[in-house]
């Protein structure tokens, strides 16, 4: 298939259809509206079901019901709406229901704004809802990568019986880029023998549930979940390492911010400064090891996290660098986007300072 020009949100929706998603429950919120809009037209064409819910709360609970009934199901929203979905997300995690949640992040807190941001990092990777649980969080840096990751997200969800969040900023949702829909590598997926489909007189009854009233049972359930999370950490951590060879400064950035940083790296190179980048593709599991390794490189003098937030992911960079090299931060927030020029200036200041 030749490349086609697709808008991010619509490409994400089509990728879900191509991944076999046949149920979508959503609620309007900018800047992700093209996802439910596209789904409302496309789902009936593939004998699927699009439903506009009465709220984000209802939408995620429809996802819970459909996922528990064995379907491939997705919802999408943007930051304030994702806050509303947190209740349902923790129930999905607790009941181990595979589903895909797309967050096209906008500025916050509160109503914030409608322009691109990355200030939901804590919410996505450090909990969001109540209880000990993890989401697999994927952060595409281009529309093409969004298309690829959305398709893989459904397989990951099914393999681990866990919700997967695809977190793009407003730019990923709104910009148009050339895209090629290619089939993702198939993984062996377990049958959904646990789903509530009606027994049809062929098996024992199934129950979808996250309640364990006996604390010992509840702790056991948590231990089992954490064994699963360990396997996900081992198998699914993804990172792009860029230009690390001989780098004096290593940027850490994800999503579209990483593309801005790549421009900054080229600009620095012209000035004779060698810079590299670590780009987490999975925000959870986080690629701590890649940063730890870079911290051990002799050439590396400092790290600089660049985010569209007041500094959230930078805390994980510090954890990984473990004091071996200084970790700096540069960010814009509230819908403001960092420029390559500003990133270059910050980097030069840091390098001047550590020399």
């Amino acid at each position: 298939m030749a490349k086609e020009l697709w808008k991010g949100n619509e490409a994400i929706a089509e990728a879900a259809i191509k991944a076999g998603c046949r149920f979508f429950f959503g609620y309007p919120i900018t800047p992700q509206n093209e996802i439910p809009e596209y789904m409302s037209l496309r789902m009936p064409q593939v004998d699927g079901c699009f439903l506009q819910a009465e709220s984000e709360v209802a939408a995620i609970n429809m996802v819970y019901g459909a996922a528990g009934a064995g379907a491939r199901v997705m919802t999408s929203s943007s930051s304030p709406g994702i806050s509303l979905k947190q209740e349902g997300i923790t129930y999905c995690a607790g009941a181990e229901l595979p589903c895909v949640i797309v967050n096209i992040v906008r500025g916050g807190p509160g109503l914030g704004g409608i322009q691109p941001a990355q200030s939901d990092y804590f919410q996505a990777t450090k909990g969001g809802g109540h209880g000990d649980y993890r989401l697999i969080v994927l952060a595409p840096a281009s529309v093409q990568e969004a298309v690829d990751l959305v398709q893989q997200a459904f397989d990951m969800a099914d393999q681990y019986r866990n919700p997967v969040m695809v977190m793009g900023d407003g730019m990923i949702g709104q910009m148009m880029e050339p895209v090629e829909f290619t089939e993702v590598e198939k993984r062996p997926l377990p049958e959904k023998t646990w789903a509530t489909t009606g027994t049809k007189g062929e098996r024992q009854t199934n129950v979808i549930n996250s309640l364990f009233i006996d604390p010992a049972e509840c702790e056991k359930h948590n231990h089992r979940l954490y064994e699963k999370y360990k396997a996900i950490e081992n198998n699914e951590t993804r990172v792009e390492k860029y230009n690390l060879d001989g780098a004096e400064i290593v940027f850490v950035a994800y999503g579209t911010t990483a593309r801005i940083v790549k421009n900054a790296i080229s600009a620095l190179e012209k000035e004779g400064i060698k810079a590299g980048m670590i780009r987490p593709i999975t925000l959870w599991p986080y690629p701590y090891k890649a940063i730890e390794e870079a911290a051990g490189l002799d050439s590396v003098k400092a790290f600089m996290a660049v985010e569209m937030s007041m500094g959230q992911m930078v805390e994980d960079v510090r954890l990984a660098a473990a004091g071996k090299k200084p970790v700096h931060f540069y960010g814009r927030t509230g819908g403001m986007v960092p420029t390559p020029k500003a990133v270059v200036e910050q980097a030069k200041m840091i390098l001047g300072g550590v020399k």
Partner: protein, 248 residues
């Protein structure tokens, strides 16, 4: 001797956790008997609420999902859209359905979601220890209305059946009671009709069942039956509010 009454196959062997004399157990049995009689157990998927009936998934002998507080109608929507041929029901109390889940039940009814809701109204929060519900009667004492519900402060109790009956796609709405055998038999008939209307694909169906809470009402089980009859029925009149041709 022939067995003329025995525990339905629609219930598991698990002993109910409900307090002595709580009529939840009667309502569970009626729903289970109806599903057995209509031959629906093999294709039934129930949704349990948060509240006293939170363990309903242990009692109904069919596939079950446990929903978050008030969200059972949204969960049931997801299930029924995936399996339109199945028999889907939610079992919800008054705090769950009429308070925190008010939006979900109204919109499920508005869309005409083809499942059956069993709405158990005992005018109080049971599981959490007797707090005021949207259905608590004026003057009725609750742990968060220690002097009794004051209508000028907390408003007047919500009549859910009357409200939902204004929604065109809520095709079957009936309020019943289980305070004596005659009414229990009528309640079962209504529950049966609701499931039949669901399976006929008519739209959203709901049976509101007036129920007792001896523990949190501070009454004996027998006093509770009488209190229900004398206090709840005058405010919550029994009867059919909506019914499609097919089950009349």
């Amino acid at each position: 001797m022939a067995v003329i009454f025995d525990k339905t196959k629609g219930l598991t062997d698990k002993t109910f956790h409900y307090c002595p004399g709580c009529t939840h157990g009667i309502i569970h049995r009626l729903v289970a008997e109806v599903m057995e009689e209509l031959n629906l157990l093999d294709k039934a998927i129930g949704v349990a609420p948060v509240g006293c009936a939170v363990f309903a998934y242990d009692y109904f002998n069919c596939d079950m999902q446990e929903a978050a507080h008030g969200r059972a109608p949204a969960v049931a929507t997801g299930i029924k859209r995936v399996h339109p041929e199945s028999a889907v029901f939610t079992y919800q109390g008054d705090g769950d359905l009429a308070s925190i889940g008010a939006a979900e039940i109204v919109h499920a009814a508005m869309r005409g979601e083809k499942f059956t809701t069993i709405f158990v109204n005992n005018a109080i929060y049971g599981m959490t220890g007797g707090q005021m519900a949207p259905t608590t009667l004026v003057g009725q004492k609750a742990t968060t209305a220690p002097l009794g519900r004051d209508e000028n402060h907390a408003g007047l109790p919500l009549r859910v059946s009357e409200m939902l009956a204004t929604i065109p796609k809520a095709v079957f709405v009936e309020r019943v009671s289980v305070h004596d055998v005659k009414h229990i038999i009528q309640a079962k008939k209504a529950i049966k009709k609701a499931f039949q209307a669901q399976m006929a694909g008519k739209g959203f169906t709901l049976v509101e069942v007036l129920s007792t809470c001896p523990t949190n009402w501070g009454k004996t089980p027998l006093e509770s039956l009488k209190w229900l009859e004398e206090n709840m029925i005058p405010y919550y009149p029994l009867g059919n509010y909506r019914s499609p041709e097919e089950v009349r």
